[in-house]
Structure formats: C-alpha cells, structure tokens
C-alpha cells in the first residue's frame, strides 16, 4: 500500500482539478495543494537524491524547512532550482523536475557514492586534495582535474542561463505593528493591535492564514479552529488599518526595526494578472514587531532516519488534516515527547492504521496512554527505533528496548511492518528573526530548546515582542493569551476585559525527554540536505573541530539552503555529548538573513535596464538626429562618434580629429561638473583647495587648477573662471563632479566654517560647447555679437560675454585639444539653439562635430591627463604637474605630498609610448623591459589610454612607467598575454603633439 488521498477532509477544493507535471509525468491535484501534497496523494514518495551520497529521499516536512524534497520549477526557458516542493502551490501547467540525479530519480548512477561513505566523510576535500609529495601525480594538478567530476556529482539543482523575463517590484511600507506569523498567536496579536487603532501588517509565508490552526483539529470558541481563523481573518480584512500579506516570508530583521520580506505574488498562478509582478520585495519599517513565528519540529537521529517514508509527526498530521492526504497506510511513530500522540490520533481518524508508537520514555502519562488507545496503537514505552527497512520506500522498522539515561540498547530487536514512520524529537522555536535582531538565545533545559531571551528594556532587544510557540509556549491556549498581550503591548494599549477565546485541545506536556540520538549501526542523519551524519559530528570532535563555528564549517552542518532549520539543535546536542559538556556551553551559531532563500530579482526590483536614471545633455536630441553613436559615461550619455555610412569607429574618430586640426571641430562639453563658488572668501577658499594660486587671478580670466586629497595624492583637475571679485565658476571632470562638490562642502562645513563662501552645483544650468581648430576664431567671429573675439579682447585663458543668435553666452578661450579653442557656455535651455547657430556659422569653414573618441585622441596627442591617469594612486609629480604646486601657501594635501614614498624615484610616472611595430596598443597592457611570452613578468608599468594618432600617423599611448622621464628615448615592450599582444615600443614624452603649444596660443 502507499500514500493516498482521504475521502473527505482537508482545506483543499476537491471540485477543482489541477494538472501539472513532475519529471515529465502528468499528475492531477486539487486547488490548495502544494506540489508535495499533490504528489504524495498520488503515491509518490521519492522526491530527490541527497547531496553527497545520492541516497533516495522523500518528504521530511510539510513546510519551509524541507531539506529533502527540493525541485526545479521550469517556466518556459527559465528554471528556478532548489525550491522545496512543500512551498510550491500547484497550478495548471506547472512543470517541475527533480534534481541531483542522473539519469533519472529512480535510477541514479551516483548512488554508488554510498559505497564510498567512509571516504566521503566530513573534511573530505581538506583531506583528499593534498597532492602526493612524490611521483608522477605530484602536486595538486591531478586533483584539480578530478574536482570537475566530483563537483558534478555533489550538488543541488542547476541554475538556468536564460534571461528571466519576470517582473519584480519593491515596496516601502510603514506600520505601527508588524506581526510575523498568522497562527493563533499572530492572529490574536494582529486583532488586538488593530482594535487599538494601530496600523498593522500581518505577514505569513504560507498561502493560508492560521498556521497550526489549519491542521491541529482543535476547537476554538466551540467551532473548528479553522472556522475561528476564517472569522478572525475576515474581521481583519475589513479594516482600513490592516494590511494582510499571505505568501510573504519576512526574511531579514535590520536596524531600527527595518524588516525585509518577500511576497510571492504570482508564482502560484498560471499567468500573473496584468501588471502583477512575480515577487515583491517589502522593506517594512515597523514601530514594533510581534514575532509569532512558531516552532520547527526536530527529527530524531537514528540509523536509516532518512529513508523515504520517514517524516516528522506534525508534517503527517498536516498532510492528513490540511491537505487530506495520508502519507501511509500502516503508520508507526517514534517520539521523545507528547506532541506525536496527537498526530497518531489524527492519522487514525483520517483512515490509517497506526501500528506502533515507540517512545523513548519508560513512563507515559495516563493521557498519552489513552490517546494511544484511541489511535489503536501498540505502545512501546522505553523503546527506540534502531533501523528502517526498504529501498526507495519504507517497508518496516526495528525497535529495541532503550535506556534513555545511558543510551544503551538491550534485548532483541523487533521488526514491525510499516510503510510510514513518523518521528518527533521535540520542538525548536523559530527564533531566527530575533537572533538577527541581536538577541542571544537561551537554552531551556525543560523544553530542550533555545528560547528567545525574555523581553528587556535594553536597546535593541526591546524592539520586538514574542508570542506563542516562538517563546516556547507550545499550546494554543497559551498562544492565544500571549498573542493578545503582545498585540496590545505593541500597539501601546492596555489590557481589555473581554474574555479570551476558549480552546479545546488534545492534552500534552510540552517538555520532551532529553534524547536526540539513538546510537546503533548504520548512517544516522543529522543534516539531511548536506548529508551530515552523527558520525561526521563525532569525527569533527575527534579531529579537534569542537567549537560550534568550526563544527559548522568542517562538516557543513546547517550550511545548506535550509540553513539547519531542523538539524541545528540535534547537531549541537551530539557535539555536546562528545565533549561531555551541557548544550548551552557548546553554544549556538547566530542566525543571519535571509531566513529562507530570496530571489535575486526581488532585490534588484526595478533598478535595472530601462529604469536606470540617465542624464542627457541639452543638445542630446540633436546628436541623436545627426547620427551620433552614444556612449554611456556614468549616468551620462555622450556622443562617441558621428559616424558616416560604412565607417568604422576608428575611421570616424580619425576623420573627426584630423578635420578639427585642419579646420575646426565642435564637441558637447555640457557634462563637465560646474560649481559656483561665491562669497567674500571665495578666492581664499580656492587657494586652499587648489595646489596653485587663484586669489591672484584677474576678473575675466580662467586658470587650470589641480586638487589633491588630504593624503597628498592627486584628486581632480579643471579650469576655474573668475567671473567677478567674489564669483568663481569651477569646472570639474565629468566623473568627479559629485565628489568634488562633497569635498568642498565638507571643508566649508566642518573644517573652515569661518570662511564666507557658498558653493552651488550648477552643472545642469549651463550648456557647453568646445570649438577648436585653426578656423575656430573665424567661426566665432561670424556668429558672436556684442564682443570682439580677437586676440586682444580674448587672449588665452580670457573670458568675454556676448550673444549668439540672440542668446547671452560666456566664452572662455581654453584648449583641451591643443588647438586654438574656445568653450562657449549658455543657459541650458538655449543649448541646442546656440549649438545650431555655431554649426551654421561653421559650415563655410568645414566645421565638424566630434565625439569622445576624437576628444580622447587629441588629448592623448597633447598628453593631457584625465581620470585614467588621476586614478587615486598618482601624485602631481607622477603626472609632471609639480609646476602647479605652490610653495607660497599651504593647500589641501600639501603637508602629506612630500612623504618619502610619494617622492621616490621609482614611482610610476606619466610617459608617452609609440608602437614600433605600427600595430594598435591596448589599454591596461603591461610594459616590460624584456618580452617573455611564456612566462610574463617584470612589469615596469601599464598603458592608461591609447589611440591611433592621425597627427603623428602612429599608434600611440599614454602610460605610467617606473622611472618615467629617465626612460625617454629608450625602448621597452608591451606585454598583454590576455590579448596576445606583444611588441616593441619607444618611451617618449607624454607631449606628443605641438609640445610648445604654439597652435593653441595662436
């Protein structure tokens, strides 16, 4: 016989049939089923293969803690691996497959790994992958080769490579009270807080609210507990101050009561509704939090406890009562506590035969004996299960007399025929979120469990209030009382006189016997998902890995995707026994977010692709209309080239740069950072910020300036224009605009509050165009009115104000390209108007538009530096900018820039390179004195920027090279093994083109 659907009962909709497939086989289930319950109802007991030994595994649990039954869900091309079948709600068209098996789940070739069990023990990798010291396999190479095959054999599901087309979204939420968990305690807390008028969010990771009330078969206020849940949820649904979040896992608890939750919005649907995301990430800021997260039942550790058909007692109760599924026909139980007896009665009621209850305790209460009688089960008090039989399903168990004080097994083992064994090793409160919030769990010897600390008024543990099984109060009566008290306290209310709901429940004491393991021959699993056995834990102890943190890392206990939800405490107990110490002295590891796996998509939410902010210059549309290929520089989009039909990128930039040097070119420079520095002390402030003097700058003139960081390294450069006595316009590099602004604000606010200076970011207020070339001045003369632009009115670094096409403009004569050049600024709103006027005026002179590539080419030819050279590791001297370091005044960085290491002669210095083999160079290539292609070494520097120079007719580059200037005129080699580019270069000055500057000075 095998598992089957009961004739009646359960919270499923038997009128609704749902079709899905598992491993290619078509199945049907009912609305309200999980993949686990639907398959179990069809007699499926084999759900997966274990991580290391590939042992057959079935369902251990019915919830989020499931370690065995992990599946991959396929949606079109997209595959999501490692989802517990217990958390997958079935829907029409669901396609799920099993994992970690080859060629099929039933016949898995790697199951042979079980034969090598002795070798594959804890620390297998550490011990094995030490290469032989002598012989042909010396070293680790052979093992690196083997690793590939071993990695294939061990593992979980594989991730897909298809792009995930699903939509994810993020929500920020605020509330007075967040209630996590919707069992009787959580529902009472939510209701009590809502009744006080508090804004409440109630979240539960299951699709149904109610928690244990859905399967406990208890009575609340005279009606089935499920009816009480329905009524209470209906009351909450009708209130404006309550938000209900089913299918929502609260997975992270952060500072200031910020919690992270994942809502699985449409995974349970064949198609999401219009506009509906797949997952929603909730960032919830709660004034107070009620943790009513319940408890996890623990397995017992005994030989064969992982055979399909062995599951937790409450899980079977849940399958029977919530899903109407019997996990077996002849059911045996093995327990150390009272809670399993309720399961025995429930399964008997649902139609199964309960053949035996093995209880490690020699004395049982009269209530438990009467429950066993009700279940018509034979009691084996003072007995333990010592073996399970069967292959891929359970066929029987062996029980033997057990002394729970000494752990000794005596007498003959007795075989009992059973197709399902339920075990209960006690309960561990789900304290994960409290632990994340910083609470240190306390061992409770009576409950044999780590309990959350009692609430204190100490920050930060006072931020949450616990209720129900979370606090170790396992009965529904206590849960209801604690839930209401917690809800009231969280909402800041006081007690109400209304009577609490009356609960009728099966009796039972909450304290288990302190038994975790039955030591008998055979593999006894502690961590089912990572295949860690009790013997592995003892091996770790023998080898000295006795700290709980070492135990965890050495055996990987609790490091699987279930994060040890069921294995943590049994593992600690076994280590404690090996050490001869009590469990609290062994300690426990701190839980970290996430509580359960989180989709990466939900964390990114909308922050990718189209929704990334973009910054466009005022002339952006013009560039696009005129064939510009755009290049993203940070958030900015800038023209890279204005390519003609059939042109390559290189042909385009070479044409643009050549035309600029021959006649004139124009480029959009609106992206440069611009900061208005204004006030009576503006000049004094700039003297401190820049390495060179600005107080001596005349009004109507600009100066190139260099800034250092406090530690003496170069920070940023740019020109600053003196528009008035107390009015400067600073320009920065595009990339550093924000950083420079913060740097200035910091010094004005924190270091020199006495300076009367105000800084304002005006980057977006100005449109800028740089026009350069031998004919640039003629073009300006043709379109600028209100001022002359000749040498007298507008000398090098001079500034004039005038108009172009009726728009006021400010023109500064400065040059980045090395040509006679001008930067024309106007209000951003007039940018395109002025740009078009300049283009029109330039037509008779052969003006071309040029992009970033040509801009870069001309700056490399001139040897100007940018962020590629001011990379945070270079000094002003390294870049040959030491002429800018004023000796007349201190400035930011002046005290630190002369440190020994910053003036050493072997520092990397800026140089120029010319490729002697006339082939393109690559950015990032190393420079070496001798080429050694087989064993690249001996780098003396690297290339920072490179191009084909139309002015020189050569491939050139800027580079940072040790010793720099001293190497001018010598030969070296580029060594770029990644791109197989090796070849000779000549090291020259970084000023390749017009070093005297005669062209720009005119």
């Amino acid at each position: 016989m095998s598992p089957r659907r009961t004739d009646t009962g359960g919270r499923i909709d038997r009128l609704k049939t749902i079709r899905f497939t598992f491993d290619g086989v078509a199945y049907t289930g009912h609305a309200g089923d999980t993949l686990a319950s639907a398959l179990l109802a069809k007699g499926v007991t084999l759900f997966g293969r274990s991580f290391k030994y590939h042992r057959p595994r079935g369902l251990l649990t019915a919830g989020v803690e499931e370690p065995n039954a992990l599946v991959t869900v396929l949606k079109g091309e997209v595959r999501e691996p490692n989802i517990p079948a217990t958390m997958v709600e079935i829907h029409d068209g669901l396609v799920a497959i099993s994992q970690n098996r080859f060629p099929s789940l039933a016949w898995d070739i790697h199951a042979a790994n079980q034969l090598g069990g002795k070798i594959l023990s804890a620390g297998f990798y550490y011990k094995t992958f030490m290469g032989p010291v002598i012989g042909p396999l010396k070293g680790t190479r052979f093992w690196m080769f083997c690793e590939h095959f071993i990695r294939r054999a061990a593992g979980l599901g594989s991730a897909g490579s298809a792009k995930d087309p699903a939509r994810y979204e993020r929500m920020n939420a605020f509330c007075d009270v967040l209630v996590v968990g919707s069992g009787p305690a959580g529902l009472m807390a939510a209701k009590a807080a809502a009744d006080q008028g508090a804004r409440v969010i109630l979240a539960d990771l299951e699709p149904r609210f109610g928690g244990s009330a859905n399967w406990s078969d208890e009575t609340i206020d005279g009606t089935p507990a499920t009816d009480w849940v329905r009524r209470t949820v209906a009351q909450l649904e009708g209130r404006d101050n309550v938000r209900l979040l089913p299918r929502t896992t609260v997975w992270g608890y952060y500072d200031n009561n910020t919690l992270a939750a994942l809502e699985r919005v449409s995974d349970h649907k064949e198609q999401p509704a219009k506009g509906e995301p797949r997952h929603r990430y909730w960032a919830i800021r709660a004034r107070s939090v009620v943790l009513a997260t319940g408890a996890f039942e623990r397995p017992l550790v005994f030989p064969g406890n992982d055979r399909p058909g062995v599951m937790l007692a409450h899980a079977a109760e849940r399958y029977a009562n919530e899903f109407g599924v019997l996990p077996g026909d002849r059911i045996a139980l093995f327990t150390n506590n009272d809670s399993a007896y309720r399961a025995a009665v429930a399964l008997k009621k649902a139609g199964a035969a309960v053949v035996a209850i093995a209880d490690v305790r020699p004395e049982l209460s009269a209530e438990m004996r009467s429950l066993a009688t009700e279940a018509e089960a034979e009691i084996f008090a003072g007995h333990a299960v010592v073996a399970t039989e069967g292959g891929k399903t359970l066929s029987g168990i062996k029980v033997q007399r057990f002394d729970m004080v000494t752990g000794a097994l005596t007498g003959d083992a007795r075989s009992i025929h059973a197709d399902c064994l339920l075990m209960s090793g006690g309960w561990s409160p789900t304290i994960h979120l409290a632990s994340q919030a910083g609470a240190k769990a306390e061992w409770d010897a009576a409950r044999q469990a780590f309990l959350p600390p009692k609430p204190t008024q100490q920050w930060p543990t006072q931020q949450w209030i616990g209720a129900g099984a979370f606090t170790g109060s396992f009965s529904t009566v206590e849960a209801i009382a604690e839930g209401r008290a917690a809800g009231l306290a969280a909402a800041g209310g006081t007690g109400t006189p209304a009577a609490l709901p009356i609960v009728e429940a099966v009796p039972g004491e909450p304290d288990p016997a302190p038994v975790f393991e039955i030591r008998a021959k055979g593999k006894s699993f502690v961590d089912f998902q990572h295949d860690v056995t009790a013997e592995d834990v003892r091996l770790a102890h023998r080898e000295g890995f006795v700290s709980v943190e070492h135990l965890k890392r050495y055996t990987t206990l609790g490091m699987a995707t279930d994060q040890g939800k069921s294995s943590n405490v049994p593992g600690l107990a076994i280590m404690a026994e090996a050490l001869g110490k009590p469990i609290p002295e062994v300690g426990t590891t701190r839980f970290r977010p996430p509580f359960a796996p989180v989709s990466i998509g939900s964390l990114a939410a909308e922050r990718f692709g189209d929704l990334k902010p973009e910054r466009l210059t005022p002339m952006h549309d013009w560039h696009v209309d005129h064939g510009a290929t755009l290049y993203s520089a940070g958030l900015w989009y800038r023209p890279m080239i204005y390519g003609h039909a059939g042109e390559t990128v290189e042909q385009a930039y070479v044409r643009e740069a050549r035309a600029t040097r021959e006649s004139a070119g124009i480029v959009d420079v609106s992206t440069l950072g611009k900061i208005a520095v204004q006030g009576p002390d503006a000049a004094a402030f700039l003297d401190r910020v820049y390495t060179n003097m600005f107080s001596t700058l005349a009004v109507g003139k600009a100066r190139y300036g260099l800034m250092l960081r406090e530690d003496g390294f170069a920070f940023d450069d740019g020109t600053t224009w003196r528009l008035g006595e107390q009015d400067f316009l600073m320009t920065t590099t595009t990339a550093n605009a924000g950083k420079v602004m913060q740097h200035l604000e910091y010094f004005l606010d924190v270091i020199w509050p006495e300076l009367k200076v105000h800084v304002t970011s005006v980057t977006d207020e100005w449109a800028g165009a740089a026009i350069g070339g031998p004919k640039a001045r003629q073009i300006l003369a043709a379109c600028v009115t209100g001022t002359s632009v000749d040498n007298a009115a507008l000398p090098f670094m001079g500034i004039v104000h005038g108009e172009i096409a009726g728009v006021p403009v400010m023109i500064c004569r400065l040059s980045f390209s090395g040509e006679m050049a001008f930067e024309v600024y106007c209000g951003a709103g007039h940018g395109t108007h002025v740009w078009e006027a300049l283009i029109e005026a330039g037509k008779p002179f052969g003006l071309v538009t040029y992009g970033l590539e040509a801009l870069g080419t001309m700056r490399i030819e001139k040897g100007h530096v940018t962020g590629a050279e001011i990379d945070g590791r270079t000094t002003a001297r390294d870049l040959h900018l030491d002429w800018m370091l004023s000796k007349k005044k201190p400035f930011i960085g002046s005290a630190m820039m002369d440190r020994e290491g910053l003036v050493a002669s072997d520092r990397l210095e800026l140089v120029g390179l010319i490729a002697l083999d006339n082939r393109p160079l690559n950015g990032g290539s190393h420079i070496v004195e001798e080429i050694d292609e087989a064993n690249p070494h001996g780098s003396i520097g690297h290339i920072t920027a490179c191009c084909y120079s139309p002015a020189l007719g050569k491939h050139i580059a800027l580079a940072l090279v040790k010793g720099g200037k001293a190497r001018h005129g010598t030969r070296a080699h580029v060594s770029d093994p990644l791109r197989s580019r090796f070849g000779p270069v000549e090291i020259v000055s970084n000023h390749f083109y017009d070093p005297e500057g005669t062209r720009m000075h005119g």
């Binding site: 200031n256 930060p460 913060q742 604000e745 910091y746 606010d749 630190m896």
Partner: protein, 98 residues
Amino acid sequence: MLITCPYCGPRDVIEFTYQGDGNRERPDPASQNFEAWNAYVYDRLNPAGDHNEIWQHSGGCRAHLRVVRNTLTHEISSVAFVRGDHASAARRKAEGQS
C-alpha cells in the same frame, strides 16, 4: 538605521554619506608636524561602543552632522549640526520665518 537630521527630521541612512571619524583634529594648515598630519589622515579610533562621527545629509539638506553612534548596537544617542549657524537656520525654519 535612522538618523534624525535636525533640519529634515528622521531619515533613512541611505540619504546620508559617512564623512569620517569626528574625533580627528586637522592640524594648522601651515603646520609641518608630520606626526599630527599622519594621525589626522590615517588614525581612527574604531571604538566598540559610542563613536563620534561626521555624516552628511547628502540626499537632503546637505548639512554635515555630528552623530554619536554606538558601533555595537547602531543606537544613535545624539545628532547635531557641525556648524552652529545651521542650527539657527533650523530654528528659523521651525519658527516659520524662512
């Protein structure tokens, strides 16, 4: 983590930029005392407990704040403007004069 900006009110930490240890003393700009400069640029207290820090409300009013934060619990026990004259601006705002 929440920081209560004296001007803008309680805001999420993502609006703020950490601007370093608030215990640093910048030497006189003309000072050649290398030890003092080295301490200012590189030495940090890194206490386990209350720490004086400078934060800029970069996603808000852009004022720099002197924040006392417990590095073990993230509890913030005090927040004040680094500059005195910002405090009067905040007062004016509160009084509805600006």
